[in-house]
Symmetry: C2
Subunit: 646 residues, 2 copies
């Protein structure tokens, strides 16, 4: 018999289907520092002995699991700090628990247990009184000696022995990896703007203009302020307004064509200001509770300094020209791509390092949130290495993946380290579409590694729905983005109900990508009060934090989405009704989910209308409500179920 069999034989209990887990441990599950995490597993042993199990954290602390039935066990734990961590599960046979269970059954059947009491002596013999357990241990040993069955079988002794009794066949699971992030990785509200648009009149905006605008952004309750690229913009093949191939002399170009004689991805556009101005902005934002998020777009304009300095970082064609980006037959001649692999095989590691150093450079200037443009067109191993390396030096760094592509590609980017992911939210409009998509995000395996960021719009996406929805559709899309997802975002102008498209396109007319777009932020149609309200609710109600608590409830109308966000631990219970149709009112029945509180269908529950502020009582399960696109396109309720029940 080999030593291997001796070892494997000792793993007598089965610990399987451990959650959270990603691809059988190939990637860490994502958790948030300080947030509760439910660790679950299927645990069992051969035979009929009583067993017990616990989650063990890397600090050695043990968290007992409870049996839910059908061999499913779980415990709630919390990870402290940020960075990579791990947990394991240990399970064991509990000989005292088995002895007690069987003794109770035999006594109940009137059987003699004198031999069983001798077995108890043998079971207790190896146990010594440990510090702090002396009294209970002594009481048990005395009771065993005196055959004092009532004491031996008492709840006190049972509790003591569950904690301190012998453990048999102790079995340890493999380590399971987690990545612990700070809360903003999972719970954030983003506002996107182009700094160059903030100058008054025709003047190019500056970082100082952004500082002056911070109260407006912070006043709506956002906590991340995100800019498209703020670097020098190329001249060669510069795009004109509305993406025209020829730029007029006064066209300012797309900020995504990065690099000119004035510098590249580690430089600032000179008209925006100096590095000192930028650092002043980062500091001022912080004073308003805002973090600056930077856009990392790995697109070089043909004028980027690296092309001169590092020709080996770019592909060339047989005719000697540099290879520009294309999606045949479309050509993007204002952008050239990096050469991540040499001859398609060996990684171009000096380039990889240089890009990594860009992130480190901006992190060194106070930027800890990075929105990465089109990560799916760069190699996966590159991102996996880069994110781990940056977060090793700056554990608080957060990466948002801007990959609007196929589902498995988006999920892979999340697995390999992106903390947040853009989503299909802008293309999910009907009740069915939203229900199906959110059910996937909150209940399928991706819930363990993918954190959606629901943007209502972006400079690239002028949602078809909002092109005709009018103000009601802007209000409901904001409310849903902010209450269905832990992270959400809005690109400037959405709060002003801007939706004019290039005809037949999902693009904005006069897109801000190619020109300045000054706005009147005090326009009367602004929905900033809705934005402020929902962001305020996100901050005040614990139920709004972990979006995976989302549950859909029955509202009997095809145009009404009805859902809840419940946090029993803090008794934070919210219900949302949203009218999806922006044109027609809806009157409908809905069910108050009394069953979620263990209440009968005729129970009553206190409720507060979070828009109007008034409180009242809902009697029974069935209720009617009317929503109206203009007057009341959504309703938010805070429930207070009878005390003690949760």
């Amino acid at each position: 018999m080999s030593q291997t069999l001796e070892d494997s034989a000792k793993q007598r209990l089965v610990i399987e289907n451990v959650r959270p887990s990603v691809d059988g441990g190939a990637f860490p599950a994502k958790v948030v520092s300080g947030w509760p995490v439910t660790v679950s597993a299927d645990i069992f042993c051969d035979g009929h002995e009583v067993i017990a199990a616990a989650v063990v954290l890397s600090d050695g602390s043990e968290h007992r699991m409870r049996h839910l039935g059908n061999d499913a066990w779980e415990a709630e734990v919390r990870f402290a700090g940020i960075g990579h961590d791990r947990f394991a599960i240990r399970a064991w046979r509990d000989p005292f628990g088995t002895w007690r269970r069987d003794a109770l059954k035999k006594l109940g059947a009137g059987q003699d247990i004198s031999v069983e009491l001798q077995e108890l002596d043998a079971l207790l013999a190896p146990m010594r009184a440990r510090r702090g357990e002396g009294a209970e241990m002594k009481a048990l040993k005395t009771a065993a000696k005196r055959r004092d069955i009532d004491t031996i079988l008492s709840d006190e002794i049972a509790g003591f022995m569950a904690r301190s009794g012998p453990r048999q066949s102790l079995t340890l699971s493999a380590d399971h990896r987690v990545h612990v992030a700070r809360e903003r990785a999972a719970f954030s509200a983003w506002y996107e703007l182009f700094p160059r648009s903030l100058g008054p009149g025709d003047r190019h905006g500056t970082f100082r203009d952004v500082i002056a605008h911070l109260p407006y952004v912070a006043g709506m309750g956002f906590d991340v302020l995100y800019f498209p690229p703020i670097h020098p913009i190329g001249q060669t093949n510069r795009k004109g307004r509305n993406n025209s191939l020829t730029a007029e002399p006064d066209d300012i170009g797309s900020p995504y064509a990065i690099g000119s004689d004035e510098g590249g991805m580690d430089a600032l556009h000179p008209e925006l200001g100096t590095m000192a101005d930028f650092e002043a902005l980062v500091a001022a934002a912080q004073g308003h509770g805002l973090e600056i998020a930077m856009d990392i777009a790995l697109n070089a304009s043909p004028d980027h300094p690296w092309i001169r300095e590092h020709p080996e970082w770019f592909e060339r064609r047989p005719d000697g020209t540099i290879k520009y980006a294309e999606n045949p037959p479309k050509k993007y001649e204002d952008i050239v791509n990096f050469r991540y692999y040499l001859d398609g095989e060996a990684p171009n590691l000096p380039l990889w390092s240089a890009i990594r150093d860009l992130f480190l450079f901006w992190a060194g200037h106070g930027v800890m949130v990075f929105r990465v443009d089109n990560p799916h067109t760069k190699p996966f191993p590159f991102w996996e290495w880069l994110i781990a390396d940056v977060q090793k030096r700056f554990p608080e760094a957060i990466f948002l993946s801007e990959a609007f592509t196929r589902p498995k590609v988006m999920k892979r980017l999340a697995k390999i380290g992106f903390d947040q992911s853009y989503t299909y939210y802008t293309w999910r409009n009907t009740k069915d579409e939203l229900t199906e998509y959110l059910t996937e995000l909150t209940t399928e395996e991706c819930r363990d590694y993918m954190r959606p960021n629901f943007f209502t719009n972006t400079p690239d996406i002028n949602p078809i729905f909002n092109q005709t929805s009018g103000r009601p559709g802007f209000r409901t899309r904001v409310i849903m983005a902010a209450s269905l997802s832990g992270n959400w975002g809005m690109y400037s102008g959405f709060e002003l109900c801007e939706g004019e498209p290039l005809p037949g396109r999902e693009e904005y007319r006069d897109s801000e990508k190619y020109e300045r777009r000054p706005r009147d932020f005090d326009a009367p149609d602004s929905i900033r009060e809705d934005v402020r309200l929902i962001n305020e609710l996100r901050r005040s109600e614990p139920a709004m934090k972990d979006f995976r608590n989302l549950r859909f409830f029955p509202a009997f109308h095809d145009e009404v989405l009805y859902y809840g966000r419940f946090d029993p631990g803090t008794r934070s219970y919210l219900l949302f009704h949203v009218l999806i149709d922006p044109f027609r009112p809806a009157e409908f029945e809905f069910e108050v989910p009394l069953w979620e509180f263990g209440l009968p269908d005729d129970a009553s529950v206190e409720v507060q209308d979070m828009l109007q502020g008034n409180s009242f009582t809902w009697h029974g399960k069935a209720h009617r409500l009317e929503l109206d696109p203009v007057e009341r396109p959504y309703a938010i309720w805070k429930l207070t179920p009878p005390g003690g029940v949760s």
Copy 2:
């Protein structure tokens, strides 16, 4: 930069979600020698290059995968031989495929591709003409030199380059383990009988009596003949008839209390015959196409020789008595359990080896099929080691797990090596219950490792349904067991519609476990013709082999189960209607699944009634059928859809 990054960077493509796979590779997936296996995976790369992929078997053969869309790929492969094997997936970027796709798009848009043709030269430069590819390679190089675009873009060259063109970023998956079994592991029909009952009149049956009975068993189309234990039976605390605690002098005892002065688990009950008789039976059975399956029940009677010879293999109590089996407050004083672990911790390896040697002993006497009694009350690591060790020496050995217990425990036994598993079939009676259970078995992850064996009944289970169903219920339960599962079994007497219970129990009255039970196998109510018919169909129709091809179809009646078994490769298409209610006829509509053949709802399909033998045509999708408990409790149809469509 570490070497590790250089290596991981080369894994540029993603190969994930590989199937078949069990618990992320913790256990081998189960396959059958020579049967088709669909290997699938999600495969993709960053960017937009054309990629390709193949399954690689351990003999080095490469089987190209096809892209199903949404990054899902699959290929059909077959494993030869029996024993442990493995496969891997390799994927790569196809530079010629990408070049060709883009060139076609550019030409379609009227763009010049002269620089692209220079790129083609560079792409082809490293390629040399290999043996057998000389002509195509030469043609391509000539065409490239001449700028002969039509030839370069021809289908012939595309096919040649898909086979032989350069591969970039070649990425290899991990090895995925499979266990390859002979067909009987997945496809078998079992008949169970007590040899001792086969003697005429009051005489104890013998192996010779079994030999005389073989034509009856083989005539019904079975291929495994299985006996409860055939070893000497203990005297101490022997159970009497109907499980009474006191045996009369002439009571023959339960064969599950194994061992007496006449020998233990490696001996034969003297009244059944000698080892020579047994070997003669094994040989005679083989002549009838039957394999003998032995019952391995690790229950020693208090008289088993091992108790005397190896006292350390059994638990003792403080009063010096040997520990008998119990499920408090119930006691099983005719059976003692083995001591698999010493002090509950170290494996009792001499005992483990001795039990392993029992399997080897019987395998040495020609038994290659083992039904293991209550494996879930013995340690999982013990079985995992034992099965692997026995199958290393006897790769054709098959293990059936008799674990009627919680689902996860049953599944674990299948994962660790049991080839077949008893199931909940006897407790699944309604249309909903059967549909839900079969959907789990055929579509959930257990399909990769658990092979159900649907027994209609066992000596321990007299199904409640059959206690009152009368003959119609015996017929339908046989038909469903044999057509819903690859493996099925029947315990003697079921074909005679025996169902008299101990009142209020799921047990047979006068159970054969405790007494002989001679039968008139020619009784007029026998349903052996149904058994013969379904076993014959299983042998003649390829669609009956892999039970995972099961599909349910719409029959608009709550008491009618309607399903299909289709094997497109051999054009074997069967439909089954089964009337579950044994008392009332049912007339109902059903849909011929024309959509499965890509046919419109008004198409016609040839159909043969497999009971009556006549053939005719079904026109259109909707049809009516009447089933009747007595005249026609089930129908079986063989379809012949229009040729070429499959």
